[in-house]
Subunit: 202 residues, 4 copies
């Protein structure tokens, strides 16, 4: 029997990258202050994803236990719905973007992130959900394509590194950071957590 | 050294009741469909609670892992902020109410819960956060007393068994079930989950 | 439905005491050096136990994760076989003894424990498994009654606080500490771990 | 910052292979009957390992929780001592062997394994620890090189697929299965567990 009969080499490396990325986040105490009420998820998609089953995510999301970030379960394909749809939409515009994380969002964090992106030369975008057309709000699954297109449009046609979203009724707003793989995303979001927590002014 | 030097007998029984209640919920597969985006928490307060440190709660909340409810961490005093404040406010009106759980909420669930409460002879209440005065929204920590008083007022001065809340901007609405101890709360919310999931019409 | 329909009050307190005791051990870093290859288990029996299902124990035993003691699973009735049989045998001689823990054992620890017991006024006993009769070794389940009786005999007819056992072929020897409830046992074994680790000479 | 600054590509794939292998074992219910008292560990070494820090292993070993195999912690370099030393010794003889698992061992399993190896064309070896020279028993860390060399000698100079060991005083005997990577090892040991459990006669 071949060592990797049902799991091809690329998936093994995907699992390895998720494992290392989750471990980084679990060891970043400062990230707890960026975990939103809905908890964070970290996602990593196969190239050209079509459904949520093409997207690795943390089963049960990343929560806070004993004052540290804690992945509630293991990385599994299909474990995310919301963040998986986001990464699927983004990959249609820029196939190199395969990973992302959502995190907390309030006006103070938003201003900080905007300044930080400027200092890093990163594209920052924001979307105002009050602009979301009623017919899109009402159609099941239509919000995510609208949100992604709105964020890209606001960034002049490019995929933003970080997107800030205003809340809608019944929806907690989150920030999203995107990247090529989950280790890149984890390194960047942990740096943000540490600098923000330390009071660094970008 | 006495066997329970730093933990009095009542606390030992509190831990025991939380342990059994969490175990019940973790074994109720149907409850997964009632876990909101912000995840559920189960709380249990000491008599006459003053601060969150008087309230036992599940560290990291109750999330979904491998298709089952899963407590992310252990019960700990001080592990909840939102639900702890709720139970503190309620206990001022009815000191016998010491436990509660928050769970999902949409118009379909709300109608079902209202009918179910009627069939059980339970008090049902609902609050509309659009009625929340601006000065209360803006004052840190003022929303919870307003919400609890509003729910009790709408129920004719009594503490409701179940309260339904409409969402505000940036806030996911939740339902809340209250009781005397976490085992009562777990038994009741698991029965609701099973009946709702089975398509039972109250 | 009554709050505790299937779990009587004494069991709720039993769960509470196990919860608190396991938490103490998980927070005692020094105990890691006393965890044997077979791992430790902490047990707590109902009064007058007849079978392993009358004995609470840590499902999966207590192992070492990230350098700290870690209960692999939750306390469950029936989760232990070996330590459950021990506590059942002991309870026949002294019904007040309902809890125990097994931990590491080598000649150096044994000498230290003997001195420590002397300084505390505790009964210390040791058994030499080379004395175990062949017909007992070969009969399934006969070793434990022999071991318990041997330890009590060597202690002049009383149940020892701590028993030291020499290894047999294929059997890792362990030390056992007994008490009335798991909090007493946890407090005592954590004190032993801290003093032994600190180089204290009893 | 590069996506994998401190972790090279080979290590990412190593983590991925361990993750998938541990997941396979955790889902093989029949493996519980092959978990010894000392618990199982699965190890995976870097090429040409020199110390335990070159060997990935399951932190806290693989135990049994709720009737299923459960990794107590995550895979970590340095988490094993005993199995790490074994794989280091073996790799000196055959550098292609980088993974292994230890599991239960009694005369009945041993006979079964010997027959199974014959049917698969695998090399089976056994070592009798009563033959271990006294000076080796007494020298710290000397047993493992002796055991590995003894197993290879008994197998005519080749590294055996499976080795059976008789117990020594104070030592639970285990069986060991070796392979090129942890997925191969997990696939093979789970097949053994299922066939042995089903009463298959090799």
């Amino acid at each position: 029997m071949s060592p990797n009969d049902s799991t091809d080499d690329n998936e093994l490396e995907m699992y390895g990258r998720m494992f290392v990325a989750v471990d980084m986040i679990e060891n970043c105490q400062e990230f707890t202050s960026l975990i939103p009420e809905v908890r964070s998820n970290l996602v990593y998609s196969r190239p050209a994803p079509l459904t949520r089953n093409d997207v690795l995510a943390v089963d049960g999301r990343i929560t806070i236990v004993q004052g540290m970030p804690r992945a509630a379960g293991k990385p599994r394909f299909g474990a995310s719905s919301h963040m998986a749809r986001l990464i699927i939409e983004v990959s249609r515009v820029d196939p190199s973007i395969r990973a992302g994380i959502d995190f907390a969002n309030d006006p103070k964090i938003a201003r900080w992130l905007e300044g930080y992106c400027r200092s890093k030369g990163w594209i920052f975008s924001s979307i105002d959900r009050r602009n979301e057309p009623e017919e899109i709000k009402e159609a099941e699954g239509a919000s995510m394509p609208w949100k992604v297109m709105e964020a890209i449009r606001a960034a002049g046609g490019r995929v933003p590194k970080i997107t800030y979203e205003t809340g809608a009724v019944g929806k907690e707003p989150v920030s999203v950071l995107l990247g090529r793989d989950p280790i890149e995303v984890a390194v960047e979001v942990c740096e943000i957590a540490r600098l923000y927590h330390a009071g660094y002014k970008p």
